[in-house]
Subunit: 276 residues, 2 copies
């Protein structure tokens, strides 16, 4: 468990050209690798526009079996060459079932798949039309760069998901994201509360939290970026603005985190019999 | 459920004279009532100094049966006269068992007792010596001013406690508190993360959160105040400084909170089978 967790979050806008989107992620991943990152987090569903804004069956043709997904096959050699772990967010097809998933790559090797457990549904975010709720349960990946828990977007609002990953041994929590304006609710801007709830997970589990969001105006749906890395006290140690593409990185002492987490006593004092 | 939640948090320092401490809370409660508050939250264990700094058996004599506790009997007529709900934090003796508890008063009537579920233990906070872990489970009180969940201090760090109270129907979460400097850890100041974790509960449960802390230097243990009221998005709408005694209040629209909480879909989308 000793050593350093070196993590990066990528932020960019994505359009209709999947090859261009993949190249954007490769370029940013190389920049992250050059800064020494061992764990690199791209945003959610970077394969294209955030298609869940409306319900359109044409998009089901953009799902692929996990290990054959073009985003996975393109990033595998990058993950190997840079020796980095990358949770690659994909639209996954498994026979007649479709999921919002990540494939965790580590040094080019796929360690497995996590399927988004919590599926949102509301104006602008019609995910229940496109995705079956995940059946994998929460997962922690023992990568060569640290034990990594990954939740996908809407998962990030649920303290239970963060806790489940912490209990499974995560040292850091990653959240690929696609979130922006709420067309149904006028000027509602959820960026501040989006950060707050994840800063809360960091404090409650005494571990860093990383969120990577997209930017850009997609037919009036404006993604608010503001990707960030928070430390074990929920303090934001690196972040990006609402409109800039780029990479942020941070490094954390694994021994300190393990010791400090134990000393805080949250995992000593949980009263599981009282929780329903 | 319609109407307004009008809530107040009280902040003060407390010394060895229990009568003076009670009078301090009565004075602040009257100020809160004059500002229209229906729910009034004093800090934790205002009966005296925060005795858990060390392990000293003399303090067991300062515990009393819940309904005979001098803080409860003194505040009952105040609760009735002002028609306010007050969770009165006490050191409770129940035969040979001792608890860190609150008695919920509503218009002078005691609605019951909640016993602190999570008991901290560490340098400066020797609570496992003084308190048996609570056996009541988390409770929500249907007061005439709203449905109120109350956690006590260390409970506030646990997302599970907040969620349990939300699932039991709480519209607002209250946390009486005694927290300050960490003598074992040099300059460690936990005030920022203390706020963050509760702001996270507000977002995750789409409901206001109120924390009332004490102030003052008690033999080198400095309580950091910074009591606050956060809205349903975790935004702090009222707060106090690190050294001032006083009252803060806020009002919330119950119908809006109920509707907005439903629209956010967290309680629709929880995957209880996946949480351990």
């Amino acid at each position: 468990m000793s050593g350093t967790l070196k993590v990066a979050a990528l932020q960019a806008g994505f359009g209709a050209d999947i090859a261009a989107n993949i190249q954007t992620v490769i370029d940013l991943t190389e920049a992250a690798g050059a800064e020494g990152a061992g764990i690199v987090l791209p945003p959610e569903l970077f394969q294209g526009p955030y298609f869940c804004k409306t319900q359109d069956e044409a998009w089901f043709e953009h799902a692929f079996p996990a290990l054959q997904h073009p985003c996975v096959t393109a990033l595998q050699p990058v993950s190997k060459r840079l020796n980095v772990a990358i949770p690659v967010s994909i639209y996954e097809k498994d026979g007649p079932e479709y999921y919002n998933s990540i494939v965790m790559l580590d040094g080019g090797e796929p360690l497995g798949v996590y399927r988004k457990s919590h599926i949102p549904d509301g104006p602008g975010y019609q995910e229940k039309f496109y995705f079956r709720p995940g059946d994998t349960g929460f997962k922690v990946w023992d990568t060569r760069h640290g034990k990594v828990g990954v939740g996908i977007c809407w998962d990030q609002w649920f303290p239970e998901a963060a806790r489940a990953m912490a209990l499974a041994g995560a040292e850091i929590l990653l959240y690929p994201t696609a979130i922006g304006s709420e067309p149904h609710d006028g000027g509602l801007d959820t960026a501040a509360r989006w950060r707050r709830v994840m800063q809360g997970h960091a404090v409650a589990n005494v571990m860093p939290v990383v969120a990577a969001n997209r930017i850009g105006d997609e037919d009036g749906q404006v993604f608010y970026g503001t990707s960030f890395i928070a430390d074990h006290a929920g303090e934001i140690v690196a972040d990006l603005g609402r409109e800039e593409a780029g990479v942020i990185t941070a490094a954390f002492d694994r021994d300190f985190l393990t010791r400090h987490r134990a000393a805080w006593g949250f995992f000593r004092d949980r009263r599981t019999a009282l929780y329903r």
